[in-house]
Every structure is written in structure tokens, then in C-alpha cells.
Subunit: 299 residues, 2 copies
């Protein structure tokens, strides 16, 4: 059994990105720049955004944080997005979700310029991903792909079973693992709350992706000998074992499942650390105009 060490790979990728910033400053005449928009002061959102800003600093990116109050109108937020879209110095923008209920998340996401949509949530990027065109791929699916790639895990012709059909993990991972090329070319089965015989289906998986958000859901009986197991779940539970009084659990019962696996991601330290570096990688690509070409003024 080999541990898919997301923490190690993420730090390697960060170093690689940091190493490229110097060249980019020379070739582009500017430093890659990520803007984050946060509305209100939700604790979890604050933490996530702080991590992203910190990661930018670590690799030498510029970052800007735009704070809007909880009561901000949708129009004002959309105006802020327009302003960022039109600012040639900013390469990528993320809007921390969730937004307050009086604001349409869909509308806000669709307002972001596709060329700055480094979260990969804009329907144009989602659609292009599905039909195999170049696109920004959202952080968690992109992180999973990178992890498979860095460990040279064969995917072609493998049966990849995904548990969970969320828009940000299950559906895009299904699309990506089924498409032509590497990592991809898998037979893909997408399972969810309505699935019958889930155990039987999981046992067929060469690659099993658990993304349902239920701690310890996947047990040893559901996993084929030699399978690759990717655990996307993160559930915070109380614990006497840690100083903080809580610990993080994945969707996979690691202790019993790991011995059967060829590869498995731990939680924490597996998929988690890969997500932020994927956002950095997308911002790097945006600064190079890799997907949609250069920004012209006001575009």
C-alpha cells in the first residue's frame, strides 16, 4: 500500500510554481495576481480565504482581498466583479462561497470573466471541460488529477467509481476521468443517494473516489483488493485524542480499507492540500493567458 501524500506533492508543486514566478515577471512584465472576494464574515469562509491568500504569498503571487459587508446588494457585488474583470493587473478572481441568501450565486459566478475564473465554476469552463476543450478545472477535481499523475497511476481502461454527484466534485471528476487522454480514459460509474447495490458497484472499482461527506462510509467490504482509493470527504468530529478536541475524518474507514489498497489518500493530508495548489496552478495559467489568450483592455 502506497500513501498518496497530498501534502508532499502540494509542496513540490508550490515550489515549482514559485520557481516560475521569476520567469513570468520577466516575460509578462508583471507578477501573477489573484483577487479574492469575500462577503460577510463567516468563520469558515474567512479561514479558507486566509489560506488562499497565504498560499499566494508563499509562491510569490500578488493577492488582493475585497471585503464586502453581509448586507451588500447583488448589484454592488456584480459591479465589484466587473471592476476586477476590467483590471488588467488581476489574472484570477475567486468569490468565496456561500454567499448570503439575497444574492444569486449563479448570477455572480456567470459574471466573472471566463478568463479569470480560476475556480472553474463558470458554466463556460464547466461546459468546455465536459466536451474536452481547454478550460479552468475546479480545484478539487484538478487536485485529484494531479495526484494520480504525480504517482503515475494508470487510468486507461480502469473502472472508476465515484460516490457523490456534487457539482464541485462528483460530476466534474466523472467527466474528467471519462474523457480521452491521461489521466482519463476510465469507464466511469457515478453513484449517489439513489444508487442501489452500492457495495457491489464499489467492489468493481479499480479507482474509487469517495465524495459524499459521510465519515467512514466506505468500509473494507466495499473495496476490491488492489484498488486505488481517493478520499475527498472531510468531516470534523469531536475527539479526545487531540489537543484541539476535534479531528478530521474522511469518507473512507482508513484503518480497515488501507491494507487492501494499492494506493490511498489519507485524511487529512491527501486531497485537501492539493486543492489550494490547483487554484495557484490555475492562476499561473491565467497569468500566461494559456486558455483564453491575453486580456485586452476592458475584455
Amino acid at each position: 500500500m502506497i500513501l498518496l501524500d497530498g501534502k508532499k506533492i502540494a509542496s513540490q508543486i508550490k515550489e515549482e510554481i514559485a520557481g516560475r514566478v521569476g520567469e513570468i515577471v520577466k516575460s509578462e512584465g508583471k507578477t501573477p495576481h489573484l483577487a479574492a472576494v469575500i462577503v460577510g464574515s463567516d468563520g469558515a469562509s474567512e479561514t479558507y480565504v486566509a489560506h488562499k491568500v497565504k498560499a499566494c504569498k508563499e509562491v510569490g503571487f500578488n493577492s488582493s482581498l475585497f471585503r464586502l459587508e453581509e448586507q451588500v446588494t447583488e448589484d454592488l457585488l456584480l459591479g465589484k466583479i466587473d471592476e476586477i474583470n476590467n483590471n488588467n493587473d488581476i489574472d484570477g478572481v475567486i468569490v468565496q462561497l456561500p454567499l448570503p441568501s439575497h444574492i444569486s450565486e449563479d448570477k455572480v459566478i456567470e459574471r466573472i470573466s471566463v478568463r479569470k475564473d480560476v475556480d472553474g465554476f463558470h458554466p463556460v469552463n464547466v461546459g468546455r471541460m465536459l466536451i474536452g476543450q481547454p478550460a479552468y478545472i475546479s480545484a478539487t477535481p484538478y487536485g485529484i488529477l494531479q495526484l494520480l499523475e504525480r504517482y503515475n497511476i494508470e487510468t486507461s481502461g480502469k473502472h472508476c467509481v465515484i460516490i457523490g454527484r456534487s457539482n464541485i466534485v462528483g460530476k466534474p471528476v466523472a467527466a474528467l476521468m471519462a474523457r480521452k487522454g491521461y489521466p482519463g480514459d476510465c469507464t466511469v460509474t457515478l453513484c449517489h443517494s439513489r444508487t442501489r447495490n452500492l457495495e457491489d458497484i464499489c467492489r468493481q472499482a479499480d479507482i474509487l473516489v469517495a465524495a459524499l461527506g459521510s465519515a467512514g462510509f466506505v468500509n473494507a467490504d466495499m473495496v476490491k483488493e488492489g484498488a486505488v482509493v481517493i478520499d475527498v470527504g472531510i468531516t470534523r468530529v469531536q475527539s479526545n485524542e487531540t489537543k484541539s478536541g476535534w479531528k478530521l475524518l474522511g469518507d473512507v474507514g482508513f484503518q480497515e480499507v488501507a491494507p487492501k489498497c494499492s494506493y490511498i489518500t489519507p485524511v487529512p493530508g491527501g486531497v485537501g492540500p492539493m486543492t489550494i495548489v490547483s487554484l495557484l496552478a490555475n492562476t499561473l495559467r491565467a497569468s500566461l493567458g494559456e486558455i483564453y489568450g491575453r486580456q485586452r483592455t476592458g475584455q
Copy 2:
């Protein structure tokens, strides 16, 4: 075994659409209007477009056919699209594919206003479909959904296996059958040329969708007793049995497979006739501004 009679259902839907045109003229002050753009004079493309124009006439829609010569520049074609986008009298536009090799199909499709993209090929519509937002769904997948719905075929919790991962059939059908709601909520397996143990996987299918384009590929051994079989393939082969000297074959060996099925589509007369009515249904929705609201001048 019940035949999924696409010809019959398609003609019912056409009647329903025709019945609504009168009200729409009253409520919208105009007749639904589909524009088709054809470049060059490919025989098959001419036939397809002629069928679409004829179908418009049958239900009382207006239609416009824009012919551009094979040598037309990409810029000129894009300019024509802009003109159609800006014409408030036109509700939907399709560009008949394939286009000559000097023109980027992706660029042309992305130029079509999402609100007039009744073929559902624009990445915004594809992306919105994947994440479960309202969108124009392309004709063949939409036709398949309608057929399942009209026959009240249960889909929730069923295992839907799809053979073929094309952008216009396999991938969108997979996305649609997996999403919440009816028809949908299936466990979905997407298979393709790299799939191993295809027979085993197909035998698990409660609903089997064959969309690989290989005549008679699916045999009786690959089908579970009581399965619903949807045959999307159309291959034209020579035949002594017909006057014309050719006949159409599906991807399913109908004679041997049909007796095992609860429901099966014939070829021809199954999925085929459903595609054009789906285009009409999308045009109707566009004329009512159902997905993206009303067009304002120049939008």
C-alpha cells in the same frame, strides 16, 4: 416487450407544439422563428437542414435559411451570427455542422447567443446542464429524455449504462441521467472504446443506451432480461431487401435483443424522429424566453 415508438411520440409532440403557436402569436406578438445557417453544399447537411425547415413549417414556425458559400471566411460567418443574434425576430439559430476545415466550429458555436442556442452546443448551455441549471439541452439527449418520459419509464435508482462518449450523445446523456429529478436519478456508467469487460457491464444495465455508431454491436448476451434499450446508432448499409438499395441499422441487433427487453427503440423510428421535435421544443422555449428571459435589443 413494448416498442418505444419515436415516430408516434414525435408526431404527438409536433401536434402539441403546433397547437401552442396560436397562443404564442397572441402572447408574444410574433411567430416562433428558427434560423438555420448552412455553409457549402454537403449533401447530408442539405438533407438535415431541409428536414428542420420542413418541421418548422409543419408546426407553424417561421424559419430562415442562410446559405454561405464553402469559401466563406470565418469572420464573415461570425458576422452573420452576430446579425442573427441581434435580430429580435429570430428566436433560435442552428449552424449545420460540420463546417469547412478553415473555420473553427468551437468559435462559431461560442459566438451564438446562449439564449438562441437551441442546439444546446454552446459551453454555457452544456455547463449549465451538467450542474443542473436550466439550459437548452441538445436534440438527441433531449429526445431520449422525452421518450422515457412519455412512456413513464421509471429511472430513479436504475443503473443506466451508456456505450459511447461523444459530446453530442454519450456525455450529455450520462450527465442528464445522473442528475436529480425525473427522468434522472440513475446510477450511470459511461463506457467507450477503452472499456474492459463491456459485456459484463452492459448486463448490469436496467437502461442501456447504445451510441457508438457500430451496426448491430449490442447482442442478446449483453442485455439483461427486462432491460430498457435505447438505440441511438444509425448506420446506412447496402440491402437487397429495399427498393432504395440501402437500409438503416442501429447499434443494437434488434431481432435477438428485443425479446429480452421491457422497452426498446426501433431503428429507424425510435430516437431519430425525436431529435427534430426536440429542436422545435427548444425553439418554442426560446420564443417564450423560458430559460434566459426576454431578449432586449442588441443583447
